[in-house]
């Protein structure tokens, strides 16, 4: 679309006002998923498979149904018949199968039945009355084992067209891309390093468990309140899974207690609606933490081989990688994304990448912040670090030498528009952190990271009130302060104070379709639509002013919140403030609103560079992170404080992934650490302050230059920390998490 309205001088954008929902959130007033209730409400609970892989022979619900407090019991038979298709073409089937098991339980924690009862305790007790007969089947949870010839088959026919012949049926999607001639490139190299890397699955770890309140009548009309990153996808999916019309289900997004990609699909929402339809009463379901870990979105685990050739001067002559990702018992592991992102920071003549999407007996993976990218960066940036060390080269200089820039042919195909990788590397080199002395036992690591960012379907409306204030309706749930950014952008265009704009996350009945709050798209896409909607309102404001002054509309322009004559020839009129125009708008032509809807194209890719210092206790293998600096290109920071917050949060999650977080499965295929005690996310005392540097290389695809910032921040940490730990410990760590037992074992192996 034309971006004739580009702007680089700002009044409101770039300031740091209080967020509009701040008061609600510090007083306990904000309503999150589990905070809603309804008259006559029942409580739902879900029975889950204790087996990693089992045929469901029989489910006897009669005792539960007979219980006086139980009002409904549902199994798969209570959902719509959704057609099965291979790969991601059959995503509705995949989601349904995940929401409620069909013929087989596919992982420990897979839902097999659900009850609605008059209290939460009664619902939980009633689950114990449901008798399920299982025929236990062989299972597999490891990605390499799941690809082996003797692996149990999760589901025949799940592979799509992309998978080469002869592969195990658990390999369901295949990706290959690149350019040049890697063999020729390796022949030019002075040093080639080829190594294998492993990352374990981690969970998004949002503190708010999934929760919803659903009501569905026999007339096919429904209401759903839920914590979600995207209520339109919830609406569409629930409607498909229940066999009702999409528009008849109104979905309202609650305040959301963290998502990070994990709340981009549905789990309990269709179940609550199915129970409600059967009981004819509202049903609330709130997951326990253990259910969250066992049955919602972890990220994929990965096994990777990377080979890079470098010349003595640091030029990368060739790079190739094979990335095998396991995403649970369904297609969707982002092996393609891992492959495409892995080498994306570099200007390479010869590059080749292969990605596999592999099924295993684990929960269906969900997106997690730049899905797929962190794993590949870990492998690639570790190898680059090792090459730098062996060739005696500075790791920032080598990255600068090879860095992608405008016009570079990306490893995944197209050429880059204006990008800011070089600027982040230069900022890293200039940052005092990079040259600060290290204490004995400490090591420093750096890494670059890349993420695509996303546009997505977006619809925004803005309505002016007679007193000159504005209400802005956006469709992307606010996960990290986006209402503040939207209000700032609207204020910038309208020229009225930030505080005079009320931003609401509209429900599915009041706006057109909006894609999920994911892909770092909210500030970019909803922001772009907000700007356009505000411009739309400004056009109408100018029309009214022109009519009042009786001059052509072309002779009116908008400046600092006022209509003004566009030049001396237009006439001599005092500026007419917005509130003067809206005051009598009912009498001068009717309400003034602005609207914009589109799928904005031009999200603009994003790069970051992280510097981290780690200290390793050589006697116990325990690591502490002593200093951390995030440098990332934000294009234009609308509310810099929240941009910093995204950088810091991404780094913290990366620290958890690198050091301690992992899904641990037993021989029996059961998840062993489904509570926060043993799934170890970083606590306050684990972390240092996290310094940030916001680089601003404007995105040509946004009127204010915005690039998404939410996801890129988790791409560099795994490798940056691995490089720091490896430098501190004197031994290359190739498996995440780098837990103390792994580090101590590596130290022992290294010493003797």
């Amino acid at each position: 679309m034309a971006l004739d309205d580009r702007k680089s001088e700002f009044t409101f954008v770039g300031t740091r006002p209080d967020r509009p929902d701040g008061l609600d959130k510090v007083t306990g007033r904000a309503k999150f998923g589990a905070d809603m209730s309804a008259p006559g409400m029942l409580h739902g609970a879900i029975l889950r498979s204790p087996h990693a892989h089992a045929r469901i022979v029989k489910i006897d619900t009669s005792k539960a149904e007979a219980h006086k407090d139980v009002k409904a019991v549902v199994t798969r038979a209570d959902f719509a018949d959704v057609p099965f298709k291979p790969g991601l073409e059959g995503e509705f089937w995949n989601v349904l199968e995940n929401v409620m098991a069909g013929e087989k339980a596919l992982y420990d924690g897979h839902a097999v039945a659900a009850v609605a009862a008059s209290s939460a305790l009664a619902a939980r007790d009633a689950l114990k009355l449901i008798e399920v007969e299982y025929e236990v089947l062989p299972h597999v949870t490891d990605v390499d084992k799941a690809m082996a010839p003797d692996a149990p088959v999760i589901r025949e026919g799940a592979a799509d067209y992309s998978v080469p012949e002869g592969m195990h049926p658990n390999v369901v999607r295949y990706h290959e891309s690149g350019h040049g001639d890697v063999e020729a490139g390796f022949a030019e190299a002075d040093l080639i390093i080829e190594d294998s890397f492993v990352t374990e699955a981690t969970h998004q770890g949002y503190i708010e468990p999934h929760a919803c309140l659903g009501m569905l009548g026999n007339d096919g009309k429904g209401e759903l309140w839920c914590t979600t990153q995207g209520h339109w996808i919830a609406q569409k999916t629930c409607a498909a899974l229940l066999g009702i019309e999409t528009s008849q289900l109104r979905v309202t997004a609650s305040e959301i207690g963290g998502g990070f990609g994990g709340k981009t699909t549905v789990f309990i929402e269709p179940v609550a609606l199915a129970l409600s339809r059967k009981a004819n009463r509202p049903v609330k379901i709130v997951m326990t933490r253990s259910e969250v870990f066992r049955a919602t979105g972890p990220t994929a685990s990965a096994s990777m081989d990377v080979k890079i050739g470098m010349k003595k001067d640091g030029t990368i002559s060739a790079a190739q990688g094979v990335f095998r990702l396991q995403g649970g018992a369904f297609p969707g592991a982002p092996g393609d994304m891992t492959a495409m992102c892995a080498f994306a920071p570099y200007n390479l003549t010869n590059v080749k990448q292969i990605g596999y999407d592999v099924m295993s007996n684990r929960p269906k993976q969900a997106a997690y912040r730049a899905p797929g990218a962190p794993m590949g960066a870990f492998a690639v940036e570790s190898v680059i670090d090792e090459l730098c060390k062996k060739l005696g080269l500075d790791p920032v200089d080598v990255r600068l030498k090879n860095a992608a820039h405008e016009g570079t042919k990306a490893s995944y195909g197209p050429r880059y528009e204006r990008i800011g990788l070089v600027e982040t590397l230069e900022a890293a080199k200039a940052h005092p952190h990079y040259t600060a002395p290290l204490k004995p036992g400490q090591g420093r690591g750096i890494s670059c990271g890349f993420w695509f960012n996303h546009g997505g379907e977006t619809s925004v409306s803005l309505a002016l009130s007679e007193d000159g204030s504005a209400q802005l309706m956006v469709g992307t749930p606010d996960i990290g302060g986006s209402r503040a950014s939207m209000a700032l952008m609207a204020a910038e265009v309208l020229g009225i104070p930030y505080e005079n704009i009320r931003v609401t996350i509209a429900d599915t009945a009041t706006l057109g379709y909006n894609d999920v709050s994911h892909g770092s798209r909210v500030t970019y896409a909803s922001g772009l639509a907000t700007i356009k909607a505000a411009k739309h309102a400004v056009e109408k404001l100018c029309e009214r002013a022109a009519a009042k002054w009786d001059i052509p509309v072309e002779a009116v322009k908008w400046e600092n919140g006022c209509a003004v004559p566009s030049g001396p020839n237009a006439g001599d009129f005092d500026p007419m403030p917005l509130a003067d125009i809206t005051a009598d708008m009912g009498r001068t032509g009717g309400p003034i609103s602005g609207h914009f809807e589109a799928t904005p194209e031009g999200a603009g890719v994003s790069f970051g560079t992280h510097i981290v210092d780690a200290e390793v206790d050589p006697e116990t293998g325990k690591t502490s992170i002593t200093r951390y600096t995030v440098i990332q290109d934000a294009g234009k920071a609308i509310h810099p404080t929240y941009v910093e917050g995204q950088f810091q949060g991404g780094a913290a999650q990366g620290i958890g992934w690198a050091l301690n977080e992992e899904y641990i499965y037993g021989e029996d295929g059961r998840l062993q650490n489904s509570i926060f005690l043993d799934y170890r996310i970083p606590v306050a005392s684990d972390l240092p302050m996290i310094d940030t540097v916001i680089v601003e290389v404007p995105n040509p695809g946004h009127p204010f230059g915005v690039r998404g910032v939410g996801e890129t921040g988790i791409v560099p940490p795994l490798a940056a920390i691995a490089n720091a730990v490896s430098n501190a410990a004197g031994v290359r760590m190739k498996q995440l998490p780098m837990s103390p037992p792994r580090i101590l074992a590596a130290l022992k192996d290294n010493n003797g």
């Binding site: 116990t620 325990k622 650490n673 606590v683």
Partner: protein, 288 residues
Amino acid sequence: MNYHSPASFAEASALAANATGITRFLAGGTDVLVQLRSDVVTPDTLIDIKKIDGVHDITRNADGSWTLGVAATGAEMTEHADLGRDWPGLVEAMDLIGSTQVQGRATLTGNLCNGSPAADSVPAMIAAGVTVTVTGPSGDREVAVEDVPTGPGKTSLAKGEVISAINIPARGENGGDAYLRFIPRTEMDIAVVGVAVNLRLDGDIITEARVSLGAVAPTVLLVEDCAKAIIGSALDDAALDALAAAASAACNPIDDKRGTIAFRTEVAGVLAKRAAKIAYARAKGEQA
């Protein structure tokens, strides 16, 4: 589930003796409630002992020994300056359990009765020579802490028996204790290895020592060989190496989600040395 809040230990004991099914006593509840809510253990009878007089008291007796009420929380222990001066290792061990919030509820008694081999306060209590008073249908008896746990989740307490007091010996002269544990994070984890050392000096020479290891066997261990390795020494490098070797040799751990056999065995020795140095410095009256 039936909930009771008796006014005396005799009443508590009688309730437990006459109860059918599963009985649990509720002190801080930081383990009992977790098990209840996750359906691991749903007691038929829950006996809340916090309404019994004196259960929060921390008392220094005339002979310098201490008596703690069974509901004295970790936070109350940490806030008690004199207790911390006498038994810093024991107080620190208790303080390591869980968050600030958990400290507001968790008790030594609960940590002991939960029967976890990884309980942080238990090695420290054993090293310190702590005993518990047990009230039962036939009256009171005094039991050494090391004799209470019999296996993971199991204790030697009989039906109807309830711990009614914690007895900590007098610190005495030239003594010091310390507890260290290994966890992957800085807080909020269960010990992968725990080591408590309590010793007494005559000049520079260790004359008495008790060393206890947690999370390296089905129950918390009191390791004679560790004590022997340092008694008679001034904690020189040879004694420390012998201590580490004895600690590692005593380990009989498992591989689990929290650590490997090799890791636990190795780190038990490392922590034993570090804890012994702290206890030694404390016994000498130095800051540690």
